[in-house]
Amino acid sequence: MTRVAIIGNSHVGAYLQAQAAIETAFPTVELSFFALPRHSFSSCSLDEDGVLSAQERPAGGLPDRIDLSKMDDILMVGQGFGREGLDRLVQDFDVLGLAPQGHTRSVSLPLVSEYTDFRVERYCRKLARFLREDPRCVVAPAPFPALDMPQWAREQVGWLDHPDAERLTALWLDAVIWHMSRLKYGLMAQPASLVAAPGRSPAAYARATALPEGQTPTAADFTHMNADYGFEHFSAYAQHWLGLAPQSRNTSPSKEHHNGLGPQ
């Protein structure tokens, strides 16, 4: 068996909901999950034996520890890489050289670029300290928000809604790739098959599509993905990083989960 820990923040939910489908498609894989309380690196500590423990009791019965020493591989998902740091700059200023947005003040593109680099570099430094550059660990950025995000939820999208999102996305991603290349972790950028447009995930993968009937979606349901995404993303991870191909893919994990067939 290949024991894989999926750790991270609220984005772990998509993989957790796809657990049964993943373990069916990859019968040699055994999954474990852990989410950082308050999504903060500083909320956990990794001891000398490789046990990652929450410093405080997590809410709602979430696991408070995971023994990473027993894992063959670690997939750390949902990492922001300072992406939100760009939000305020782009929300508050026009960027000279990019499409004007009607702000009274502008900042230059070199400044935006240096600031992005600063935020990503600082994020990577924290990541490096967190799991001590454990080479078993592959880090995945948080998925891009879904393509069909309604207008009222757009604030969550930040600069990804900018007319020059493609250029800004490239600028941010280049910084992520550069700084992660200096760490011993792997980096798994969002696979092209799970990207609908620059900075956007396909609408079908939004968590909003898999809500129980009658439940009104919130903005977070468009920035978080469903079990189908969790399955597809893990499949891409397994193929590239574990050298495993799925042995079956018959049903939609999100439908299974929604119909009560998911992990109980």
């Binding site: 923040n9 998509a14 809410a59 740091g85 003040r105 230059s108 924290k126």
Partner: protein, 350 residues
């Protein structure tokens, strides 16, 4: 028999007052003409030394105006690299009285501000503040847009300022022949190309410095603005002279002219005061000089003494706690990802 020196205060006598950095001695260094307190809106501008003053006044809790503020968006290092929050607006170093005069003229003018653009490696720089965009901008039009925004912000600062703390640094200045604009640096230093047919060196005289400062004041008044001036002279020597002479005497000339011009204005014009920051750093009057090992940059201790003398002379509590110049970065932008606890709880619950 009486002497005119007989009943003078202690500070009038060298032996009694010079070489001391205690509070009583520092408090005597300056007798303010202007009524200032911590609520007085201050605008800072000037040469490199003005950056020290700006920072020290902010930390000291003085009401320093901050146009084009980026402290809530960027870490200090990036703010400063891009010319933000070094002075009361993003004008970069203003070394000469002429530069400041033209800056105020441009800000108060109703028309589009004159723009002089330099080029380097297909990038474009505002020649009147070439260091604020270290990588330059993509097009000349972007330079013009950024300058227009800067002028709007500067005008707002001028409108609010009750006192302009202006630190004069140089008398040597490069002038663009075609436009007559005073440049902060020679073309070819940061960007542009030195062409003797396009620029010439001018070394301002005492009379010119006074004329420029008075003209600036007159311009403010013509626009109904009431700011008065607190002048200082930067103690930082010239880094180089283009006068043909030795940098040492050239530096002494510059500082002497500026100091004399400040002195004359202070004596003859109620809108101008002079604060002896130069003397505190560069001479022995407060136990100095306070320069680093290269003899050029003021030490932190010297800068702190300047601020202390400033506050003490104004009757301020020198022991008042220092305030942060800008919020710590942790409050500017957190690295923690957006929290969606509910989603996670729900996933684990199922």
């Amino acid at each position: 028999m009486t002497s005119p020196y007989q009943n003078l205060e202690e500070r009038a006598f060298w032996r009694a007052s010079v070489g001391r950095d205690d509070d009583a001695a520092l408090a005597q260094l300056w007798s303010p003409k202007l009524a200032l307190d911590r609520a007085t809106p201050l605008m800072t501008a000037g040469s490199c030394f003005a950056q020290h003053l700006h920072r020290a006044l902010l930390r000291g809790g003085w009401a320093v105006l901050q146009g084009e503020d980026m402290s809530t968006h960027l870490p200090n290092r990036l703010c400063h690299r891009y010319g933000y929050n070094l002075f009361s607006a993003r004008y970069g170093n203003v070394y000469t009285a002429r530069q400041f005069r033209q800056l105020v003229e441009h800000a108060l003018s109703d028309g589009p501000p004159p723009t002089l653009i330099w080029e380097r490696d297909n990038r474009y720089f505002d020649a009147l503040r070439p260091a604020v965009e270290p990588e330059g901008l993509e097009t000349p039009e972007q330079v013009r847009q950024a300058r227009a925004e800067h002028m709007r912000a500067l005008r707002e600062v001028l409108e609010q300022a009750a006192c302009i703390v202006l630190t004069l640094g140089l008398t040597e200045c490069w002038i663009d022949r075609e436009t007559g604009l005073a440049l902060p640096t020679a073309p070819g230093t940061i960007a542009g190309r030195h062409d003797p047919d396009r620029v010439f060196l001018h070394n301002f005289t005492h009379a010119e410095v006074i004329e420029d400062l008075r003209a600036t004041r007159d311009l403010l008044r013509a626009h109904g603005l009431q700011a008065r001036f607190l002048l200082t002279v930067s103690p930082v020597p010239l880094v180089a002279t283009a006068s043909g002479g030795h940098v040492g005497p050239a530096s002494c000339y510059s500082k002497s002219v500026l100091r004399a011009a400040c002195g004359e204005l202070c004596m003859t014009d109620g809108d101008f005061d002079y604060f002896p920051a130069y003397e505190i750093i560069a001479t022995a009057i407060a136990g100095g000089p306070y320069f680093d090992e290269h003899g050029r940059q003021p030490t932190e201790k010297g800068v702190q003494l300047v601020l202390k003398a400033f506050g003490l002379a104004l009757g301020d509590d020198a022991g008042a706690p220092l305030q942060e110049a800008s919020p710590p970065l942790s409050s500017i932008a957190s690295d923690e990802d957006t929290i969606c606890e509910e989603i996670l709880l729900e996933a684990f619950r199922k």
